[in-house]
Symmetry: C2
Subunit: 467 residues, 2 copies
């Protein structure tokens, strides 16, 4: 999609933030003032130098009331580029506030993959209304993409592709491209296809330009050529781009026929989202959490996880309750028991995080390799346990002047940190094997194990040794 | 860098893993068998279809003894592509095992940015030895990059750039490119420069190919044009690529003169690393943790963080110790106190994670926006506290049959969850303001706050109400 020439990058330093990226504080203040004063010309002037992505971010970060006011003033200027940058979390809200003809015009400007992204979560009635702005062939392309599963390569691809038969010469290909009037806004390769539209290779535009006019495309094709199935998961697609440094990849259907192309900027966005999901899931936050969410929305996402945590915390308390009388006799146990649990929880979270990351980057695969890592984590857990058994043994000894207490906490420390390491690696591995997202083994589950084991080991041992 | 034609992607399904990406279990088994049998031809045959990135991963995942054996068998086949894919964590080890001429040949094949990445952590003697393989001009380019700070755009860029004056025609430019014999392996734009080598815009190769031969480059330049300072931090560079969907960006020195270009695949790799750092730091794992690390290396990274956690856990225990006599009188307090601490810890971690992510994606900026989010988190914390105060109040009432105990735990829950929310948002914001990485506000620090506050609120209140 062509950038709007009016929206040329501003070079005035006061218009950029400290890092030099995104709108600066001065510019944001001017925009705020213009919204407050309902001053449309001032608002347009302030937004003129901004990139569509920054305008979309701005809209996202306004509180709902100001967003409404902003859109009332600026809706005529919203184009396809801004609309495709607006985050899902507020898109419905924005779409409702825009005049019908603005939406139609914006949708017509968008690449097919952006239209798919816009309409995929809508119900059929709404979707049909949006797609009615497109001409029949564009609409067919969008419908074709929507036929593939959610989060698949088929949803991510754009159907605008530049192809050529592999027997064409450089001159022929350049003439063909020059004569075309429907070229995609961005393309980096010519995809070679056979008469049945099976992709057989690709030629980079750089290679095409650098080669003699009579060279044949077949001879210029890159040695390494990878297609992506339209049914592949988008996370796998992002992995393939990152692993093999791809810039674009042809997408094929079940019969290996070319149906579209994915470019690296979309793969990069997916990689970013997948990371976001991992980090939010590990922390037990709904994976669609967003900075623009309202208080109610935020509560809706976080309460269920806290509820799960409450149940697991009560579970751990039940273990403590078993040893009530022991604690009453030796109250030092109540003082020290959170240390055992906390150390186990932290050690478990360390292992868990490394395991989840390794699974996400596909570096935890192959039986031999997995066992090496499991053995390593077990060894690390045991050694950590030994180290902190000594440290806490000494601390407990000095603090409460009791050798048996020191021995008890030392043993509990070793047991809990070894179990923490095993839970941290085995729970995510088991989830992955079962086809679930390993990041769902969030802190909550691993710390439940370490709390329960920690309290059991420490208090159980204490009750038989100290009383 | 050209892919080795021999290393063509294998299409045999048994050679791929279940997802169809990377080497499959069969292939890995064949490689293992070949290493065990010291069967060089079998090893070469098994590795032939593999991409350099997959071979590098394979080397990374072998345990040290097998890695040594593997390299003894395969070292002659290691080329620039494989070498530049090998992870930092094992690179020194691999370099030591390779014959001098293999390294020299590999280095000569690499792009300047990959050579910079290879030598930047070496001492000057080692660095000079590696760079001696290069001819004078390539060496100068690498030295120029190394003059920029670590983790800067200057280190990330490649110096091979295709430029043209903006008054050239399409025909002239294509003829120029066709005549050049030193073109970079991958390029997607022609950068327009003035006579003093200031970049003034760029033309995509697609646009160049699609335009009439007599069109002038100036008229084909993209509307949106962004340069990156060679001194910019690589994290900011990755952000700019992701935010503005750039494919490549010209890098300029302090005088705004073109010194190189960064392409999106490198930006994608940086984005991936930054995420990795965030997630590992949040979990209190050394941010260079790697799946190939040995037990000793892993311990070295994790022990310091666990030590920090031990100190903070002891701090929380000291709070409990103040109320020893209260606990002895009402032992139910020992049973319930971990629940208060755990709920606060979880709520704090949720807020913290969202805040760290928002800071990483630059969506937590602008005073008005920051205050909106702080207010939201405070409100969410208070409401969560209220909700769980009721739930836990009822649980405590039923469990221990005491109304005062129920009231005490309810109030402690509200206080701790509100404080947890504030700590979760304010600690990372303060770190960011102070110029530190907000992800360093790892779980450890936030849970210290929630443990201490939780125990204080619960036990302190109990000691004055219940005894």
């Amino acid at each position: 999609m062509a950038d709007d020439p009016k929206r040329e990058q501003s070079k005035a330093p006061s218009d950029r933030d400290e890092g030099g990226y995104g709108p600066g504080a001065d510019l944001l203040a001017r925009i705020d003032a213009a919204i407050d004063a309902d001053d449309r010309p001032a608002l347009n002037a302030a937004l003129e130098p901004m990139h569509a992505a920054d305008i979309a971010d701005l809209i996202e970060r306004l509180d709902p009331a100001r967003r409404r006011r902003f859109l009332a003033m600026y809706s005529d200027e919203i184009d396809g580029e801004i609309l495709s940058e607006i985050d899902e979390s507020i898109r419905d809200e924005v779409l409702e506030l825009l005049p019908r003809d603005v939406v139609d015009e914006a949708v017509r400007e968008m690449d097919s993959d952006d239209v798919v992204d816009l309409v995929e979560d809508m119900d059929e009635r709404e979707r049909a209304r949006i797609l009615s702005a497109l001409d029949a062939s564009d609409r067919a392309a969008v419908r074709q993409s929507l036929a593939y599963p959610e989060y698949s390569a088929g949803r991510l691809m754009q159907s605008e592709v530049v192809t050529a038969p592999d027997h064409w010469s450089v001159a022929q290909t350049i003439d063909f491209i020059r004569a075309e009037d429907w070229l995609p806004e961005q393309f980096y390769h010519v995809i070679l296809v056979d008469p049945r539209r099976h992709p057989t290779g690709y030629v980079t535009l750089g290679r095409l330009l650098a080669s003699r006019r009579d060279a044949t495309l077949r001879d210029l094709a890159e040695d390494s050529f990878r297609t992506v199935s339209a049914f592949a998961e988008e996370g796998d697609v992002a992995y393939v781009f990152n692993q093999y440094h791809l810039i674009s990849a042809p997408v094929v259907d079940r019969d290996d026929r070319l149906v579209g192309v994915i470019t690296i900027d979309d793969a990069m966005a997916v990689l970013d989202e997948e990371h976001e999901e991992d980090i939010l899931r590990l922390a037990g936050v709904g994976d669609e959490s967003n900075i623009s969410d309202s208080v109610t929305e935020t509560l809706r996402q976080r309460l269920p996880w806290l509820m799960v945590n409450l149940v697991t915390a009560i579970l751990a308390s039940l273990v403590i309750a078993i040893y009530e009388t022991t604690i009453q006799e030796v109250v030092a146990l109540a003082v020290l028991m959170p240390i055992v649990a906390s150390m186990g929880g932290n050690a478990g979270t360390q292992t868990l995080t490394v395991a989840v990351r390794a699974l996400a980057t596909r570096s935890l695969s192959g039986r031999r390799n997995v066992w090496r890592v499991v053995r390593r984590e077990a060894a690390v857990g045991l050694l950590n346990g030994l180290a902190f058994a000594v440290v806490m043994g000494v601390v407990a000894w000095i603090w409460f002047d009791g050798v048996s207490l020191a021995v008890v906490i030392g043993i509990a420390m070793i047991v809990n940190m070894a179990i923490a390491a095993l839970a941290g690696i085995l729970i995510p591995l088991a989830l992955e094997r079962a086809g679930a997202d390993p990041a769902l083994a969030s802190g909550t589950f691993v710390t439940t194990v370490t709390d329960v084991v920690g309290f059991f080991a420490f208090l159980g041992l204490a009750s038989s040794v100290l009383t």
